[in-house]
């Protein structure tokens, strides 16, 4: 057990899995960095934010593959490699770029098994960065995991901390289905104790970060911290919030969702993916259909507004769901059944 950042946990997961299984190959833009440069034997980047640093030095160009800036070819190549026996881990640098390459996982990898009558599998992982907060503006700050979640045949995971990042990535790599693994760019520096040995966290198992009997707050990825901040404020007001991080949106741990609502009868969902047709709406719809009788108050959905992500820090900070919105929503649902 050592303290590791999310970045280090991801690197370690890749390292350990690649040592274990030679069919795992990484591919993406500058996952090594420095290919073709005059400087010899250079690993210039290890990913734009350093997440794959060191892997090229250990595994070489056959397994850590720098690619041209051609995301369709990256994801398509991964899909083709996966269906023929490899376990590719492709990097889509920013999830925002799915617009130029989605076909490879939307119409291809996710559908092979079904279209081919169960005779194929596509064990590939797409690692990708999501999230606002780095002043990266409208085309580098999105979190389109609601879209990935909606695609049958795809799985979708978004770790909130280093422990989950390692265990979920190892699971994603070993999983025989295609997985989109969403890394929030504001979380890479978050550190915690993480086992040195290898372990996998099954998908579809929520993490209950905090127990509480008054109100359930569901949050993914970086929103977990906003929820925890809100829970602190609420605790001071005597409101006990339960914080649930489902960790994967597909599959989704619906059992835990029902159980928490059984206990609290009140649900707040905070989610960065979308203001319309997002993961929050999906969960709200599920609970309102399946656990309606348990609800003591309307489900509260907290998302960014239905706008692109603005550049100016003055605006972006307001765009990102903040703790005070959760606090207000929780107060609302506490009042509702008075």
């Amino acid at each position: 057990m050592t303290s590791k950042t999310v970045r280090e946990a991801i690197t370690e997961a890749l390292l350990q899995e690649m040592r274990r299984d030679p069919s795992i190959v990484l591919m993406g833009e500058d996952v090594r960095g420095g290919a073709g440069s005059a400087v010899e034997n250079l690993e210039a980047w290890g990913g734009v934010l350093g997440v794959t640093k060191g892997l090229w030095s250990e595994f070489g160009s056959a397994r850590v593959i720098d690619t041209p800036i051609t995301e369709s070819a990256i994801l398509g190549m991964a899909a083709g490699a996966a269906m023929t026996g490899m376990r590719p881990v492709a990097e889509l640098m920013f999830a925002d770029f799915f617009g130029v390459c989605f076909d490879a996982i939307y119409n291809q990898a996710s559908k092979f098994r079904y279209m081919f009558g169960g005779k194929a599998k596509s064990p590939m992982v797409v690692r990708t960065m999501i999230g606002a907060g780095l002043r990266a503006a409208a085309q580098h700050s999105q979190s389109p995991y609601h879209i990935f979640t909606s695609v049958p045949g795809l799985k979708c995971v978004m770790p909130a901390n280093a422990y989950d990042a390692k265990g979920l990535l190892i699971q994603a790599i070993r999983d025989d289905d295609p997985v989109v693994f969403c890394e929030h760019k504001t979380l890479y520096e978050k550190a915690m104790e993480v086992p040195d040995e290898s372990y996998a966290i099954p998908f579809g198992e929520a993490n209950i970060l905090r127990e509480g009997s008054d109100v359930s707050i569901v949050a993914f990825s970086s929103m977990v911290y906003v929820a925890l901040e809100a829970a602190d404020v609420l605790a001071r007001e005597g409101i006990a919030a339960e914080i649930i991080d489902p960790r994967s949106s597909s599959p989704l741990d619906t059992d835990t969702l029902v159980e928490t609502v059984e206990q609290t009868g009140r649900l707040v969902i905070v989610d960065e993916s979308a203001a319309r047709c997002g993961v929050a709406h999906d969960i709200a719809a599920f609970v309102s259909q399946e656990a309606f009788a348990l609800l003591k108050a309307p489900i509260q959905i907290i998302t960014p507004p239905h706008t692109p992500v603005p550049f100016s820090p003055a605006l972006e900070d307001v765009w990102i769901p903040a703790a005070d919105r959760i606090v207000r929503a929780a107060r609302t649902v506490m009042r509702a059944d008075d």
Partner: protein, 336 residues
């Protein structure tokens, strides 16, 4: 199509590309099977018993077979919406293909795929693909697997003239060059993409030359001439197997039917198809060239065999059960 840009056909140095009688008959059998399969689908489709979109490969048989004769079962091919020919050339079970097209539970894909998604991974057939430009990126992935496994395996993608314009196709060619992948990109230039002529949509009117600009050897051949395709493919596949990197073949051969079954073909000039059937029939050309070593009777026997096989296939398909409705929910994920 601007035939002036067509290069001198790559006539073989050794006669019949050095193929022996057995090999010649094997290749012919596949071409004839494709023809019989497609012509039968054409009539079956009129009966209304076949659902969905059907794209026939008749007229282009020499391309799939000319290329795939160089492939082993462990090699991979990626295909198009017009995929029946590629499937047969790569060794897919013809009866189970027919069952699939009829949407039956014993189809190659359990009825879930249909004509546009026939696949048999156990034969290295990575699927017909209803996304134009879908195969090249999958093929480079398969080629990565081949390279990784180091056993001289190769991957081939088949793409139309229309698909040759897709961004995905260009990206795949560049990636193949950068990573020196053992892949051959075959462009089936049949003159049209739906109702749009190659001469209009391929701005440069020279798919092979444009591809060559990406840094890989590219040849243009007469796609109705099995021996021309076969010889160009021999070179490209050998290079790929030997680790010398990717290659391109543009093969020119028109389709004999509409873009999909039921389409009116208003864009064909009067008599265009009849002339093709007369002068550019890949099977006839094969018989003519191979006539020196294979007798007319032998060819006829093969023709009869494949017609019988297709009869059986249709009979089996008609008699087979539709998939049980509970299979609707299976095969979405491996894990659940």
């Amino acid at each position: 199509m601007n035939t002036e840009t067509m290069r001198a056909d790559n006539s073989s140095s050794s006669p019949l590309n050095g193929l022996e009688t057995g090999q010649l008959l094997d290749a012919y059998r596949k071409m004839a099977a494709i023809r019989a399969f497609e012509e039968r689908l054409h009539t079956e489709n009129l009966s209304g018993d076949i659902a969905g979109f059907i794209h026939l490969y008749a007229g282009e048989e020499a391309i799939a077979v000319g290329v795939c004769e160089h492939l082993r079962e462990s090699d991979f091919i990626g295909s198009t919406h017009r995929g029946h020919g590629h499937c047969i050339a790569k060794g897919c079970d013809i009866k189970l293909m027919m069952c699939e097209i009829f949407g039956k539970e014993n189809g190659l894909c359990a009825g879930k795929g249909g004509s546009m998604h026939i696949a048999d991974l156990s034969r290295g057939m990575l699927g017909a693909n209803a996304i134009v430009g879908g195969a090249p990126s999958l093929a480079i992935g398969a080629a990565l697997t081949c390279k990784h496994q180091g056993e001289g395996m190769v991957a081939v993608s088949f793409t139309g003239d229309g698909g040759s314009n897709q961004g995905t196709t260009f990206e795949a060619m560049n990636m193949a060059v950068v990573l020196k992948l053992p892949v051959v990109f075959v462009f089936e230039n049949n003159g049209y993409a739906e109702a749009t002529a190659h001469d209009y949509a391929v701005g440069c009117r020279d798919i092979a030359a444009r591809a060559a600009g990406f840094g890989l050897p590219a040849e243009k051949v007469d796609g109705t001439d099995f021996f021309a395709v076969h010889e160009a493919a021999a070179r490209a596949v050998a290079r790929a197997r030997n680790g010398e990197g990717p290659g391109v073949i543009e093969a020119v051969a028109q389709r004999w039917y509409g873009h999909f079954e039921g389409e009116a073909c208003a864009y064909f000039a009067e008599g265009e198809i009849e002339a093709l059937r007369q002068n550019k029939d890949p099977l006839k050309l094969f018989r003519d060239k191979a006539g020196a070593v294979v007798s007319a009777d032998e060819f006829k026997r093969v023709d009869a065999e494949v017609v019988a096989l297709i009869d059986e296939a249709v009979e089996l398909a008609r008699g087979s059960a539709l998939p049980a409705t509970d299979t609707l929910l299976t095969d979405v994920y491996v894990s659940y």
